[in-house]
Symmetry: C2
Subunit: 352 residues, 2 copies
Amino acid sequence: MSYRNLRVLVTGGLGFIGSNLAIRLVELGARVTIVDPQMAGCGGNPHNIAPICDRVELISRDAGDADQFAGAIREAKVIFNLAGEISHIHSMEFPERDMLINAVSQLRFLQACARHNPGVRVVYAGTRQVYGKPDYLPMDERHPLRPVDFNGVHKYAANMYHDMLSRMGLLDGIVLRLTNVYGPRMSLSIPCQGFLSTFLRLVLTGKGLVVFGDGKQLRDPMFVDDAVKAFLLAGLAPTPPQRTINAGGPRALSLHQIARICARLAGDLPVELRPFPEDRAMIDIGSYFTDTSLLAETFGWKPSVHFEDGMMTTLAYYRAEMSHYLDPSNPQPCCGLPEHKGIPHRLTYAAL
Amino acid sequence: MSYRNLRVLVTGGLGFIGSNLAIRLVELGARVTIVDPQMAGCGGNPHNIAPICDRVELISRDAGDADQFAGAIREAKVIFNLAGEISHIHSMEFPERDMLINAVSQLRFLQACARHNPGVRVVYAGTRQVYGKPDYLPMDERHPLRPVDFNGVHKYAANMYHDMLSRMGLLDGIVLRLTNVYGPRMSLSIPCQGFLSTFLRLVLTGKGLVVFGDGKQLRDPMFVDDAVKAFLLAGLAPTPPQRTINAGGPRALSLHQIARICARLAGDLPVELRPFPEDRAMIDIGSYFTDTSLLAETFGWKPSVHFEDGMMTTLAYYRAEMSHYLDPSNPQPCCGLPEHKGIPHRLTYAAL
């Protein structure tokens, strides 16, 4: 089985991983439909699909409005479900917005998938964030779940929707729990998209880097092509015995090492260690790296891109495409989120 | 430390377990404020607190409207958080309603607790439903979580909110994961409140019982006084090393045994075995009974009421108070939920 002429749907397909996946799917001959509402703060960027924009169908809707694109759901042989908000800090400021995007929209989207295309393979972009502070490393799928922020709670609710509907036979879901992914097409102008986005924004504008804490916390950054490979394999594989599977990078590096590699490759910029600000310390999880053996066993996947190589490719991409990711006249990042001073943004329940 | 003159808040205090807890708290000398909006389908019944109605303050609001009763939150020394919807079947019909009640309202309530009374002890009524179909028995707290319905997903989201805010030091939360609880003040007129409510409704109106499947599935029904005892202990105990703790009954009985005891005590009514209807088979979890050793170790709790004794007390209560729980002129149960044929009931997000 291959992707040639296969109809696939990619939610969040204008976002970072979604667009890289969509581009690869088009290269493989798939007939790709992207669903992406370009919601403020979520990283959707039309420029991300510039190489394929005349070869994909784009539906500018929220995944939760799925009944409005039931035809596209019905025709899809594989659904890649990457719609979502990943910012831990946004979720603590606007928990109900995070719930709307990561839980309510997913609930609606998956119910529509079950209704219009029962049993369809859905591969969801989960997150290591659901584990929280590790009891042991490397992190495997049996680890207890202790999300440290609302984003982790709501992403895990979506994880459970996939599991539950799959156990009921209504979907054939697979959840990839991703570590920190980096590469071309990450959003750089939105704050709080993770430290790799911040590092890139800073070094690309000639600034040095600050690492909070002693810099010894480990991470296993994963180049986006390796993440895309995991999605492609999961899309066509037979139903696996375990539906939730970790995906991580090839090697654990300290934050200090990661910062020094970025700063060096970008032009020998300085790196400084600084104590944790209080709001970050509260959600810091210490070291994290992934046990990817289940992913390897299940799909024959292995990561192939080392951090230094991936980071060189990434920097080269942004240098060529800078104007689409950073506004040089306005170097301050802006998430575009609604002002909330004194205005409660709330979920309400009504018969529409 | 005791409850004498202690200010406590009970959300869902007009409901089944909440009202039994409130009555006991008043008997112990506590100053009790009840928060309960009597939401249709959730089991709140003003008659439940008849014995104490002139000795409690009643706030007729949803727990999620917590900023409207900030004073009561601020003054509470212990908060018992029993607001919620427990119907698995309602949740599959109206998943967004279930999310509103069990997740959105809890999110708002707990944020208000953290804001107005940081570090307050909150004891939450969780559910064994979050475990799903057991891998092994008795069920302990280390078991993987595989909720079989939207209710389980959303109750677990609320469980995670308690955990997460407690780890951040904003609350001092304890979650009791309850098995099937029975006793006086259960709702009998709402369908889908669990098999014990259904059994009671039937035998109290002189009807025989039907057990789905072969009747050999085990359950460990817990008399409400034993559940109340667990809440009372959890309310005043030092912060435990593990914040999520199972609570279950004294003994595992088969559904067939349970049905026969109910039918016999109610007047030698017949019990019939019948194959599973399809919609129930999908969410059936087989046998379940609880490992209560962590609850015993942590709080010195043990269950004391055997099923036959608890059921006799229960039947006697309803015989005396029947008119407040069942309308003899309308024996059909009615959940009072909004009609939904063709009307999507949806959560919307807006600046209010």
